[in-house]
Each structure stands twice: as structure tokens, then as C-alpha cells.
Amino acid sequence: MRKEVWFGLSIMALVVITVFVLMPAPSQMTNGHLGLLMLALIVVAIMLGFPTAFTLMGMGVMFAWLAYAHANPELAIQQTLDLMVQRAYSVMSNDVLISIPLFVFMGYLVERSNLIEKLFKSLHLALARIPASLAVATLVTCAVFATATGIVGAVVTLMGLLAMPAMLRAGYNVKVTAGVITAGGCLGILIPPSVMLIVYGAVAGVSVVQLYAGAFFPGIMLAGLYVAYVMVLAKIRPDLAPPLPLSERNVDMPTDLTAIRSKFGDKVLPAMAQALRDPAHAGVPSRTVVREMMVATLPALVFIVLMGLTWHAITKPDIVTDTSALQQMGAAGDASEKTENSGLSEPPAEGGAQGSGLTEPPAESSAEAPSTTAGSTPAPATEPSAAAPSPPPVPAAKSEAPNAPAAWERLSTPTAYWIVLAVGAAILLAFYAMFNFVRFEIFKLLLASFFPLAVMILAVLGSIVFGLATPTEAAAVGSFGGFVLAAVYALLKLPPEKRRAIAATWIPLWLLIGASIVWFLLLKFEVVESGPPLWVGWISIGAAALWCLMSVFQVKMQQTVKESVFLTAKTSAMVCWLFVGSSIFSAAFALLGGQEVVEKWVLSLGLTPIQFMILAQVIIFLLGWPLEWTEIIVIFMPIFIPLLAKFNIDPLFFGLLVALNLQTAFLSPPVAMAAFYLKGVSPKHVTLNQIFAGMMPFMVIQLIALALLYIFPGIGLWLPNTLYK
């Protein structure tokens, strides 16, 4: 047998022997000691390579039985079985873990949508001018794609196939190339929506929403540090990361646009406008010009619509018609109470509600403001939108004519709005001033690859972080979005005639679906008074169902969906069974009082919170070398988490540090998965040692990021504190 095998086995034997030597004689053994024994054995057992979930389960059952047998031998088996099945059931009915299969499903669908090639190409053209442009493009591609998919192996392999040849051909150093790809591919584990944070949230009992909000900026920071590093490196040592040759920066231009450019100049908007006014001279069909014009003005249009709706929403005074209608229904027709309610139902003023703008309440209720109704008011007032569709009772509506929406005036616009508007407009102006045809072409490429993914991620994340939807809901809608994305990209691959024929069937259906959604958005921006009626909603649902069914067959999605489904099942079974095992294991550990022994020991060290924190992070960092993140979180976090309260450490903050720390677990040999995936697709003269050496600077950056987050906790905690406290 080989040397490393003997080395490994002898280390394990050493651990076992040490543990047995240190243990007191069986007669003096307490349950606490058993707990420690269990912990030592599990580390050895995991190293032996048996599926961890079942190691945990088996060991947990045995030690739980031992613990119960100590107390009451007759009931021991009974109690062990009860404990076990309850733990298993609690994982099955866990409302946090349910988002795991959904996010995983979304990831596989997006991965298979085949957009990484376009993404990388467009980003590499867009970033061509900056130093180390290919490396930066790789990092950005990885960050976006890995965030959407969360599958390290696939991202590293794909980037190894796409970015590695490009970088090596451009004369990049092999180590730099390998480092950029592996480090970038692992970003998806940290930047939310990531599965790791869900698992941590479920173990530590921290809200996943807060974890997502907290991990957002540290993730961006880490990606930013990577980018800064490669840019500085390219400036200092241009031989390691040379600038892109001009031939690689070439952007293909469609002939129509070249024609317009040669006649009317390089500025897109003026040139297009002239071409539109004088189609005969341009020699380009005006339909094409109109279409290109629409794409070109898209940023401005989006900006105007968004700012307009925001202005409308913040300057519109709070109307109480809806809420009073709801309260009247609740008030069971007592006339006097009704009037009181309508007067009192002023929703709590929020920033924009400066006194002058409040046009109501009607005078009739001003005299009487009894405290009895005040108590009943807030509860129904919190959900005016839910009550919106139901019309107010007829007599009440008549008596409250002054409350009708026509009566209000706009509130004064806050200064902040004007500042945002001015800055946005300035940026837009600068953008259009520099908008030449090459940039227009790159913009179109980005529009087809980068923006859909970015919008999807931000929509999923935004709706979670701002509390519009639970992580589960956002994950499910995200999966649906992943399916739409995959279908659309499959459509784009088809030949043009076929594409047009299929698109002709899709667009009407999309319009039907969109009708409800636009209506709903208008409701949210307070442009319309009520949500879409039920029948409109059902038409949209029907259209969506029809579209799903049709698209699966039209663009041959069967294989993609089938594979994603099976992979999702395997991945979720892997994570969730591990969870079943570990929750039985940690229950046994707690039963034996192992937790107390550890706690006593740690407290006896007399550490300050800072020392404890550093110790914990060092332990996790070291565990990351032999183990994977799933094992570290589900086995070792339950031991750390109870200690946090003793040292007054916020489990949320600890979780962010752990998530950042576990990034290193992916890059630390010998179990650095990323390196092996990259090795699998690299040319044969690229050695594993080169890849490992390339990863080292990025590991150092991760440690720097960890230190930064530790010194300035605001990086992570600012967003959750602002939003939720």
C-alpha cells in the first residue's frame, strides 16, 4: 500500500488511542466523557470515508441509547426510537430547508440554459479596455453565473473550458489563470441566494432572510477584492496578465448599423434619429431602424418609468378609502362607530406624510376621538391591499364621498428624490454622450446575456431581503424563472424561421401573463386602486400553464428538465439526509451532556470574546482542509452555536464569518474540489501543483476579507440592521 494510506491510517489510530488513554477508567466514566468520545470517534469515522449521513445516524442512535440506558435501562430503546423519529420528522417538516431543493432546481435549470458562453463573450468585450480584462471578465462571469446556479463543479468546469483557453492564448500565466477560475467559481457559495446560508440558518436558528441580507455586501466585497488584486497584478507584472490584443477586442457589426454609422456619424442616438427622418438616404429598412432605436433608448425608458412610478407612489397622499371600507365591514354596521373609524384610520405616517399634505380626515369625526376605537384600528389598517378588491358597503360609501380619490393633492416631493433623479439623469446623459455604435453592439450583447441573469438574481434576492416574499416563495418563483430563461435561450438557438413561428405563439401568451403582473405592479406603485380581478388572474394562470406545456415540447426542454429534476433529487437527498443524520447525532451529543463539558472547558480557558472568535474561526479554517462545508456546518456548528451566547456574539455575524471562512475550504488542498474540476478540463501540462499554487493568493485574499469583515462588522451587519431593526 502507498505511503499516504499508512500515514492517514496511523494518524487515525493515534487519535483513537489518545482518546482512550485520556478517558478515565470505565467505572469513573460520566456521560460527558462519552459525549467527547463520540465527538472524537465521529471525526475518525468521517475520515474513513463512509457516507457521512449514515455514520452520524448510526453513531447517534447508539450513543443516544447509551445515554438513556444510563438513566433507565427499561425505557431506553423506546426513548431512543422516539428521539430518532422525531428528529427525522423535524427535518422532513422543516420550513427553512424546504428552499434547498428549490434553489438547487433553479441552479440546474440556469446551468443548463447554456448562457455562460454568451455571458463570458459579452463581458470580455465589454471589459476589454481595463487591465487584466480577461481575468476580470472571468471573475464577473463566475460571480454572476455561480450566484445564479450555486454549483461549484459545473461553473469551474465550464469556465475551465471557456476562459482558460482564452486567457492562456492571450499570454496569461498558468497559475493566475487557474487561480482566477477556481476562486471565481466558488463565489456562488457565499453570494446569496446560496444553499450554504440556508443550511447554516437551519442549524443555528438564524433567519435566512437576515443571513442573505448580511452576506450580500461581504460577497460583493470578496469579488471586488479579487478583481482589485488581478488588476493591480496586471499593472505591476504585465507579463503575467498582458492586455488583450486588438484582434480580440473586435466587435462584429451588423451591416445595417455599419451603413448608418458611415452616413450619419458614430453617435448612436443622433445617427438613428437622422436615419429615421431620412430612411431613403440611409438605405436601411425603417423597421430595423425603429427596432434598434427602441433598444438604444431602453435605459432611458426604464429610468423614466421607474422614476415616474416612484414619484407617483411617494407623492400620493395616503388614501383611507380602502382601509375605512375594511373597517366598516368589520364594525358590523354600527353607524356611529363607522364615522369614528373613518376619521381615525389615518395609517401611521411614514416619512412622506408631512402634515400639510394630509387632505383628510372629514370634519365630522374630529370632535370624537375615543380611545376605544383606536385600539381596533391598527390591525385591519395593516393590510389595505388585501381589502382593496372588495367594494365598501353601499350606504357607507355614500356617506363618505369626501374620501373619494379625486379629492387629494400631491404631497411635496422629498429632496432625496430630486437628488436621485438628477444624478440618474446625469449618468444617463453621460452614457448617451459616449454611446457609439461599438458600445451599442456590446450593450445589445449584454442585454441578451448579463441583464436577464442579473435581473433574475436581484429580483429573487430583493424580494427576500425586502421582505416581499419568503425565501421559499422566492426560490420557487426563481426556479420558474430559471425554466423561462432556459426555454428562451433554447429558442434563440433555433434557426430563424422556426424561431419566429414559435415566438408568434409565445408572445400572446406572455401578454396574457404580463397583464396581471403589470396590473399588480401598478397597484403596488399605487397607480390603480385595486388588484386584478379574479377572472383576469385565472386567464393569466391558464396562459402560464399553457405556455409551460407548449414550450417544453416546442424547444425540446424534456431532457433539460428531466436531468435537472433528477439531479435536484440527488443533491437535496444528500443535503437533507445529512441533516437527518446530524440532527440525531447532535441530539445524542446534547443528551450525553457533551455540550456542557465542551462549554465548561471553553469557559475555563478564560477567553475574551475576540479570542474565542479567532479560535473558532481558526478551527473552522483548519477543518476546511480535510472536510467539506456541508459536514463542517451540520456537525460542528451545533457545538459552536450555544457557546456564542456565553460570549455575547451575534449568531448572524458569526454565520457571515463562517460563510466567508468556508470559502477557503474550497481552495485548500487536499480536498479542494475546485482544483480537481479544473484539472479535469485543463491541458495535460497544467499540473495540480500549479493550480494549487495559483489558488494560494486568493486564499490569502479570503483571509484578508475575513479580517476586514471582522474589523468592520458593518460591512455585513449594516443592511440587516437597517432593514430589520
Binding site: P101, T157, S540, A569, A573, L627
Partner: protein
């Protein structure tokens, strides 16, 4: 023997794959519920219970499938370096020491747990008049039994490996990282990679 093993693999796979489709219905159900609740203002009380049941059933029933494809996470540091015989010996021991007691306990405990639930005709108490919960609890022993059968097959595999010195084959399944498929997806051929190798060699030569 090999045929029997593959047959059991097939059974676990088919069962796992059938239940895997729950992810599609889960996605659609939640998407629909989100639309219905937020846009139309008509939430459904039973949706939450149904979601949980779909999720729980999905991963429990996929346990044996994942085992049959060797998909459960292992501590790979040393295991990967071991020769097949040593791997098989370790696996066999640990299957008997940890797996069998653990899963048998789970089956038995699950059987009684579900039995009690059937007896009292248990309904979910998350919402008023929740849906019945006993079928969901019955999933525990059923998933446990499938897992146990698959575990037996794995034990036989270990024995065969101990005798022959190498692992008996498994049926192919969709892989998370299927390098060939990914190559095809981004239009990279093996020759391209081979060509790239010259660049790497050239670069090595330039460097002292």
C-alpha cells in the same frame, strides 16, 4: 448476482426518480400560490402543509436513489487514496456497524410513529382543519425500507469487491458535472485542449 444487484439499483432509481418529479409540482404549486396570494389576494390555507409534505417526501424517497448512485457525501481525504479492497473492507464494516442499526431503528421507529398517527387520524395543526398528516408520516418507514434494501445491495457489492479486488459496475446516471456534455455545450473539443497544451509548454519553456 450482478443482475440482481442492478435490478435493485434500478428499483431504487425508478422510485427515486418518480418522486423526484415532486420538485416540479412543488415549484408550480408555490409559484401559483404566490401569484394567487399576492396578486389576486386569495391565499390558500392548505398550501403550506402541501409544500412541506412534497418537500419531505421528495428527499426521503430519493435517499435510496442517491445511495444507489453513490451520491451521499463522503469524507474523501483518505478514502480516495485507498485501494479498492481496503475501501470495501472499511465500507463493509461501517455498513454493519452504523448503517444497519441506524436504518433499522429508523424503519421501526417510523413504523410505530406512523401507526400512532393513523390510529388517531392525525391532521395537521399548522392551520385550522389542516390536511391529514398520517400518509406523510408513513413515508418515514417506507423510505427507510427502500434505503435498507439498497444498503443490503451495497453490502453485497463490498463483499464482491473484497473477493475480486475491484468494484462491480453501476448503471450510469445523469451526473452533476458531466465533462463531455459540458464540452459539447460550449463547443470545445479535445483537440482544442490539446492545442492549448502547446501554449502551456511554450510558456513553461520561456520561464527560467
Amino acid at each position: 448476482m450482478q443482475r440482481l444487484l442492478l435490478l435493485v439499483d434500478k428499483m431504487s432509481t425508478v422510485v427515486g426518480q418518480i418522486f423526484a418529479w415532486l420538485i416540479v409540482s412543488l415549484t408550480l404549486l408555490i409559484t401559483w400560490e404566490v401569484f394567487s396570494r399576492y396578486t389576486l389576494g386569495t391565499p390558500h390555507a392548505w398550501a403550506f402543509d402541501t409544500m412541506i409534505m412534497m418537500y419531505g417526501t421528495l428527499f426521503m424517497m430519493a435517499g435510496a436513489y442517491t445511495l444507489s448512485k453513490n451520491g451521499h457525501v463522503r469524507g474523501d481525504v483518505l478514502y480516495g487514496f485507498f485501494p479498492p479492497r481496503l475501501q470495501a473492507a472499511l465500507d463493509l464494516t461501517l455498513y454493519i456497524v452504523f448503517f444497519i442499526p441506524g436504518v433499522v431503528a429508523l424503519c421501526w421507529a417510523g413504523y410505530r410513529y406512523a401507526g400512532e398517527s393513523w390510529m388517531i387520524n392525525e391532521h395537521s395543526n399548522i392551520t385550522a382543519e389542516g390536511p391529514p398528516i398520517y400518509p406523510f408520516k408513513t413515508i418515514i418507514p417506507i423510505a427507510g425500507i427502500f434505503l435498507l434494501i439498497q444498503g443490503m445491495v451495497e453490502i453485497v457489492r463490498c463483499v464482491i469487491c473484497l473477493r475480486q479486488g475491484d468494484w462491480p459496475s453501476r448503471e450510469e446516471d445523469v451526473e452533476e458535472v458531466d465533462v463531455d456534455k459540458l464540452k459539447e455545450m460550449v463547443h470545445v473539443k479535445d483537440e482544442d485542449i490539446a492545442k492549448l497544451d502547446e501554449i502551456v509548454v511554450a510558456e513553461e519553456a520561456r520561464r527560467p
